[in-house]
């Protein structure tokens, strides 16, 4: 009841104000609020020398990387939406957003929801210039969605499903419902040495190092930059 009377009072006040405005003819204020645009988060990366020391890139490569980064994200940080949009441009056939989501969380080591240039470059340094061990560790981290140190079948299913999503609908042979599941079963068969249903980092490293295909493909993107 009190709420009702309060509402009535508010309504009456507003009505009186409208009448007053009509009489005195005050000009209407701007409807769209002038929101202060102080929300522009601007992040500057550390100096070039420091980054050069921390990563395996040369100055020139860092410059090239930064220019591309800054072009897409002038504020200095990438958020998940922008990251997904950028990544989706490379895969026009299917839906790359799920995989981009997992990628983003692998890049965003501090789980802040935004990737700064330093994080970006550190991860790239591992992926392109790191040792095999480092690369595999990063990949393990990518697969381990909840970051608990183990990969279980559900996590792997999610990742593989995300990869298959990128293929889109028009594939040959036709993508069936259980194709990702079969893929994951094979994977687990190979990786899970002690058959306990989860893959630990050591099992992962060991299995990958045994497989020549994987080893070779890890070297594939060496000269990406």
């Amino acid at each position: 009841m009190s709420g009702c009377s309060k509402r009535c009072k508010l309504g009456f006040v507003k009505f009186a104000q409208t009448i007053l405005k009509l009489i005195t003819g005050t000009l209407s204020k701007d409807k769209i609020e002038d929101e202060l645009e102080m929300t522009m988060v601007c992040h500057r990366p550390e100096g070039l020398e420091q980054l050069e020391a921390q990563t395996n890139f040369t100055k020139r490569e860092l410059q090239v990387l930064y220019r591309g980064f800054k072009n897409e994200c002038p504020s200095g940080v990438v958020n998940e939406e922008t990251f997904k949009q950028i990544y989706a441009q490379f895969f026009p056939h299917g839906d790359a957003s799920t995989y981009a989501h997992y990628l983003f969380h692998a890049f965003d080591t501090t789980q802040t929801g935004s990737v700064k240039f330093e994080d970006f470059v550190t991860a790239l340094s591992i992926l392109l210039r790191g040792t095999v061990h480092e690369k595999l560790r990063w990949t393990f981290n990518l697969y381990d969605i909840n970051k608990d140190g183990y990969i279980n079948k559900e996590e792997m299913m999610d990742i593989v499903k995300a990869i298959y999503d990128m293929m889109g609908k028009y594939t040959y042979p036709v993508l069936r419902e259980d194709t990702p599941r079969q893929h994951v079963d094979v994977f687990f068969q190979k990786m899970d040495k002690n058959k306990d249903g989860i893959v630990t980092l050591d099992e992962f490293l060991e299995s990958c190092q045994e497989d020549d295909n994987i080893m070779r493909s890890l070297q594939l993107f060496q000269n990406v930059m």
């Binding site: 000009l27 220019r67 595999l136 028009y170 594939t171 042979p173 194709t179 893929h183 020549d212």
Partner: protein
């Protein structure tokens, strides 16, 4: 401290000598300049236009790109200058900001381009100087409205896959163009509104005389017909109102909206008339209620955008109109009072009281001049003329306000409609470009693999054929290729896909085949993959060929497939080892798989498929027993 006055700091410090004799305590030590650098000229090369400035100028604002170490990322070692690949015109404004401390907004610049540049250089737009701030904010607001408009129309046109019945109905009511049913409904209601309004009008027209009585209006002469028409219209309107009420997402809000009130007011008189009896006393009141039937004409505003714009205009300049009405009232009261007292003296004057003079004042001020009340005294005539002259002024004032508002809103609407129409075309073009890029991949797959096979065969001059893809494109295609390898499925275009679906539904054969063979029987390293180890990384070598369809891309090698290339080799001009087609060894299969990639005419398909798949043994001693699908779990 404002950066501009930093240059005067040495003077202020020197002037501090004046305090020294008076000071009580010893002075603190002065800070030394640790890195005493000579101020140097920095060259900023912005898309070819060179700007030069002092380093200290840029360092005035250390939280921007140019003032911080971030600009080192753009330093070009060879030319010893900072190169920015941005717009030099806007950079002029940005650099002036460092020099003068005031950021200006050039009028000719597009607002979003300017905002992008400011974001790039790390400058907050809030520091735009007062001289340009208003213009900047106005443009920004227009832009925001435009974006909001786009977003709204996008939301409207989103085809949400699972809309409940209620939601589809509401959408049909709001946008009649969404479905044919909605359009039909729209036109039917429009028609009935027109019919209802016309009946109301015609009802009162005198309709010829019945012999022996006076002239009757049509409504009374054909009362039954009119009653039936009225009933029909009200039925339709009631049904429409109830349907809208049912479909509305927020019924409470719907009931309060203007349109629904108009609807209710339009149909109420009929129901009240039904309920009320033919009592003489109340029928007088009932007749006045019928006046409300004319509100049905307002229902047309759902059908006409112009009416809606007019209504919106009046609403938006309500405060201006209200003020003008108030000032008009004041003027009326003043002049009515003056006229009353001026005409009080004259005999038989019509100005019996001040409220009676209101009518004269209003008629005079709006320049109507009926002439039913005229002043007779001289004073009255003088004040009367002043009244009519001022009336012209007061009446003329609201018109431009309304006109300018109407014009603005109308043009905004026009622009919104134009944008919506253009948007469709633009989205269609974007979609075409997108499919173009995916088609580009499929196209280059056929040619690109051809390239690599040719390179292998060592024919450099032919390798140049089709080498038109840029490095970026070829890297992108390599990425897509890796994805194909990861999932062991291939990209094909829509037509092929439909054809495959059709064929697979016709004959179950393919569908049983592919999964069984693609079911990964372990990551057995096969002959092919072992081959690929020795050679350089060739995607071809792992690519199997299957039963052919026309225009087929490369896909998994089945054992039987190895024999089929022999059919295609004859058609290919690049076939070098046609005879060896049946005896697949490592090298041949590489070449033959490349040849398969040439689009084969449909005529081959029946031949290809009529061949029964041979059993695994036989001439396949060189080829491993099981399908050579290799599943690579790639890292990225």
């Amino acid at each position: 401290m404002a950066a501009g006055v930093a240059a005067w700091l040495p003077f202020a410090r020197a002037a501090a000598i004046g305090w020294m004799p008076v000071a009580n305590c010893p002075m603190p030590l002065a800070p030394t300049d640790k890195n005493k650098r000579q101020d140097e000229l920095i060259v900023l090369n912005v898309s070819g236009r060179r700007f030069e400035t002092w380093r200290t100028t840029l360092e005035r604002y250390p939280d921007t790109l140019l003032g911080s170490t971030e600009k080192e990322f753009f330093f070009n070692e060879d030319t010893k200058e900072y190169f920015f690949d941005r717009d030099p015109e806007v950079f002029r404004c940005v650099l002036n900001f460092y020099r003068t401390g005031k950021l200006h907004y050039p009028r000719y610049e597009c607002i979003s381009a300017y905002d992008d540049e400011l974001a790039f250089y790390g400058i907050l737009p809030e520091i735009i100087g007062d001289c340009c701030y208003e213009e900047y904010k106005d443009r920004k607001r227009e832009n925001a409205e435009r974006l909001q408009d786009d977003l709204d129309s996008e939301n409207n046109q989103e085809s949400m896959p699972s809309l409940s019945f209620r939601q589809t109905m509401w959408r049909a009511f709001e946008n009649p163009h969404t479905s044919t049913m909605a359009l039909v409904f729209y036109y039917v209601t429009g028609f009935f509104i027109a019919v209802s309004v016309i009946t109301n009008v015609v009802e009162t027209v005198p309709c010829g005389t019945v012999p022996g009585s006076k002239e009757l209006p049509c409504g009374e002469r054909y009362s039954v017909a009119f009653f039936c028409l009225d009933t029909a219209c009200v039925m339709i309107f009631t049904v429409e109102y109830l349907l809208r009420l049912f479909a509305a997402p927020s019924r409470y809000r719907f009931i309060r909206s203007v349109m629904s009130i108009i609807d209710v007011v339009a149909i109420m008189p009929y129901y009240i008339g039904l309920v009320m009896t033919n009592n003489e006393d109340v029928s007088g009141a009932f007749v006045t209620l019928r006046v409300f039937r004319v509100f049905r004409i307002f229902k047309f505003s759902r059908h006409s955008q112009g009416l809606r714009i007019l209504g919106y205009t009046l609403k938006s300049c309500a405060s201006e109109l209200g003020f003008l009405l108030f000032s008009l009232t004041m003027a009326i009261i003043i002049f009515a009072t003056v006229m009353f007292y001026a005409e009080k003296g004259s005999s038989a004057s019509k100005f019996t009281s001040i409220p009676a003079s209101f009518w004269y004042t209003i008629v005079t001020m709006t320049t109507l001049g009926y002439g039913d009340m005229v002043p007779k005294t001289i004073a009255g005539k003088i004040f009367g003329s002043i009244c009519s002259l001022s009336g012209v002024l007061v009446i003329a004032l609201p018109v431009p306000v309304i006109v300018s508002n109407f014009s603005r809103i109308y043009h905004q609407n026009q622009r919104a409609d134009k944008r919506r129409a253009q948007k469709k075309a633009r989205l269609a073009r974007i979609r075409v470009a997108k499919t173009g890029s995916s088609n580009a991949y499929l196209h280059s797959k056929r040619n690109g693999l051809l390239n690599e096979a040719l390179e292998l065969m060592g024919t450099p001059e032919e390798a140049h054929v089709g080498k038109t893809t840029s490095l970026i494109e070829s890297q992108h295609h390599h990425l897509l290729h890796c994805l194909e390898k990861t999932t062991n499925h291939e990209f094909i275009d829509e037509q092929m896909y439909e054809q495959n679906c059709l064929e697979s539904s016709m004959q179950n054969y393919p569908s049983t085949r592919s999964p069984s063979l693609s079911s990964h029987q372990g990551l057995t390293t096969t002959c092919c993959s072992r081959r690929s180890k020795k050679t350089t990384h060739l995607p071809n070598s792992n690519l199997p060929a299957t039963r052919l369809r026309s225009m087929q891309e490369l896909s998994t090698i089945h054992i039987q497939g190895s024999e089929q290339p022999s059919l295609t080799t004859s058609r290919s001009s690049l076939n070098l080892k046609a005879d060896d087609g049946l005896r697949p060894n490592c090298k041949t299969s590489q070449i033959t798989t490349a040849i398969i990639s040439i689009p084969t005419p449909p005529a081959l398909t029946p031949e290809g498929e009529s061949r029964p798949p041979p059993a695994s043994p036989g001439p396949n001693t060189n080829i491993p027993a099981i399908a050579s699908n290799v599943v690579k779990v790639s890292a990225l």
